[in-house]
């Protein structure tokens, strides 16, 4: 009896193929029951997300036989009739455990170190557990995988930092202001990116949002969606006395805010710190404003550069994480408890 995994992910298959093999949440218990009824697996769990579909199984068959049978099961169950090359990957112990630990830690994710997969894997495991499709072996493997993921999160920089423009903007705001809930945000231009950035700030505590746009209707609509208020476009400079963060993304061909305009506004603000996030192209804010004291200006390239740097930092950590994972897998297997305990429980 050993743990095997078969599946396809963003690394091996395009989205068109992944969606053909994806399992709807409510169909998973049925698929697990069918898999066990076939005698292919004594324990099993299915992970199905937008980036991967994987079957984890404890099988009495040899690895080669198990892979062939699991592939047939997957194709038949999902009624797939197309051609299939090497999009499907399969691992036997110890590589299957290594893969499981990597997936749990976000090392195999599209955005390295992302944490969403941890929750998705946990849900997949809990679903299998709730329907009694797991046993001692899979329980131990999954629980150890969750522990390893938590350990890597604290012991390495694999999940450190923001890897998207929006989250980089939020992190910047948190480096300047102590409590975001006490600060007001002005959204200049009701574009999609500024809306996402405003929402990201809201998720970290921002309560007051003011929206302005050349089209008052769009400003009002976005303000309603964000639970804020709309102000006429010609009046946005008046808001600078109250706000502390401004997100600008208008389609203006020239900068709408320059040093000469901002300097007197900063005096009226009594030089309170001001974070300006300019995500417009061409830029809305003249770079010269950053020479003013207490003004922090970041444009879309700056934010992207932060996100890229973080991603590189995470990539540098991958080797360290792989080493830790290898040690943890070896510890799990070499103690021999993994196999013996599992088999004893099965008896």
């Amino acid at each position: 009896m050993s743990v095997v995994v078969i599946g396809l992910s963003h690394r091996s298959a395009p989205v068109e193929l992944r969606e053909r093999f994806a399992f709807a949440g409510e169909k998973i218990p049925g698929a697990l029951a069918a898999l066990r009824a076939s005698g292919l697996a004594s324990e099993c769990a299915i992970l199905s997300t937008c980036n991967r579909v994987e079957i984890y199984a404890v099988t009495p068959l040899t690895a080669a036989a198990a892979f062939a049978e699991l592939k047939k099961f997957l194709i038949a169950h999902q009624a797939y009739d197309g051609a299939l090359g090497d999009e499907l990957y399969s691992f036997a112990e110890p590589h299957s455990l290594h893969h499981l630990f990597k997936v749990a830690s976000g090392l195999d994710s599209m955005v390295i170190g992302e944490t969403e997969i941890f929750g998705q894997l946990k849900s997949a495991y809990e679903l299998a557990l709730a329907h009694q499709h797991t046993g001692a072996r899979l329980n131990k493997a999954f629980q150890r995988a969750f522990n390893v993921a938590k350990h890597l999160r604290t012991a390495t920089n694999i999940q450190r930092g923001s890897v998207s423009v929006m989250s980089a903007a939020v992190e910047l705001a948190e480096k300047i202001f102590t409590a975001l809930s006490e600060h007001e945000v002005l959204v200049i231009g009701a574009g999609e990116t500024s809306e996402k950035t405003a929402r990201a700030l809201q998720s970290r505590g921002v309560k007051k949002i003011t929206v302005t746009n050349r089209s008052p209707e769009r400003a009002a609509a976005l303000a309603t969606e964000l639970g804020g208020r709309a102000v006429p476009f010609e009046h946005w400079p008046d808001e600078f006395e109250r706000i502390d963060i401004a997100i600008s993304s208008t389609a203006a061909p020239q900068p709408i805010l320059d040093r000469a305009t901002l300097e007197p506004l900063m005096k009226r603000r009594k030089h309170r710190p001001l974070l300006l996030i300019d995500i417009a192209v061409p830029r809305d804010i003249d770079p010269a404003v950053s020479t003013l004291d207490n003004v922090y200006l970041y444009n879309v390239d700056d934010l992207q550069s932060i996100a890229d740097d973080y991603l590189n930092l995470r990539k540098e950590e991958v080797a360290r994480c792989e080493k830790i994972i290898a040690e943890k897998v070896a510890a799990l297997l070499s103690a021999n408890k993994f196999s013996r305990n599992a088999e004893r429980t099965q008896d």
């Binding site: 930092g161 480096k175 300047i176 202001f177 102590t178 030089h271 710190p273 004291d293 207490n294 922090y296």
Partner: protein, 272 residues
């Protein structure tokens, strides 16, 4: 153990400050990324030994040990070290120790110069409660100003990194700019109140015939500091002085304080 005097104890404390300074260099190079306690405990060991040194000296004198330049300097450093340990317990303020340790180490080395600690007998003349209050509050005020300068230095470093879009600003586990600014202001305000109390207490002290209080070098110097800190607080709070200028002013004033503290003492009729 009779040979082990309070000065040996202080020497050991300075050694720990030195170790903490060395470790701080490592933390600076790493960009303050890891939340850890090593530097805090090194500094805590230094402060503990420092406390023991002052306690031993106090026991010998049967009074608060602030009677010559060595004692005054060690008291100032002790206040700074202790305040740093307390403030370091605030969320994200653990790295305060990395900024404070170099100050404690360099001034600690200076304080160890034998000429700063002339023998003054077992019972110094100036050992009554009011004099102790005067000296202790003023030195505590300097400690608060010192810690304010440290927080201001952290603020300027963060501001520089954020302005220049350095990733280090985001990676470091330093407090937010706003928090550093607030802590700096509060420490200066506390120091100012203590300095005021100390100066008023000094005014009440009996003086030798013909020596007016406000014509003494040290008193004039202290009054100058009092005005500088008052101006900084008022300009920052009431007249919109930028946080950067406020921080630079606080650091510059503390450097001035450190550089002139000993000289003005030497030229002071009331303090010699």
């Amino acid at each position: 153990m009779a040979w082990f005097t309070d000065r040996h104890c202080f020497l050991l404390a300075v050694t720990f400050y030195g170790l903490s300074t060395l470790y701080s260099v490592f933390l600076w190079r790493k960009g303050f990324r890891r939340d850890e306690w090593v530097n805090y405990f090194l500094l805590a060991a230094g402060v503990a030994l420092h406390t023991l040194a002052m306690f031993k000296r106090g026991l010998t004198l049967h009074s608060c040990p602030i009677n010559n330049l060595y004692e005054a300097t060690t008291f100032l450093l002790w206040t700074l070290g202790l305040a740093c340990l307390i403030y370091s317990l605030l969320p994200r303020f653990k790295f305060l120790a990395a900024f404070t340790a170099p100050v404690l180490f360099t001034i600690g080395i200076f304080a160890l110069m034998p000429s700063l600690d002339p023998p003054h007998g077992l019972k110094p003349e100036f050992s009554d409660a009011l004099r102790s209050l005067h000296a202790a509050t003023i030195l505590q005020a300097y400690g608060a100003f010192g810690l304010a300068a440290v927080a201001a230095a952290m603020f300027l470093m963060q501001q520089h990194d954020l302005k220049l879009h350095k990733l280090r600003a985001l990676l470091s586990l330093l407090p937010s700019m706003q928090r550093l600014e607030l802590i700096t202001f509060r420490l200066v305000a506390v120091g100012f109140v203590l300095l005021t109390i100390g100066l008023v207490a000094g005014w009440q002290l009996p003086r030798p015939e013909g020596k007016p209080y406000f014509f003494d070098t040290k008193v004039l110097w202290s009054a100058l500091l009092w005005f500088i800190y008052l101006e900084s607080l008022v300009a920052y709070k009431k007249f919109g002085r930028t946080s950067r200028r406020f921080a630079i002013g606080i650091i510059a004033t503390f450097i001035f304080l450190l550089l002139t503290f000993w000289i003005t003492n030497l030229y002071s009729g009331l303090h010699n």
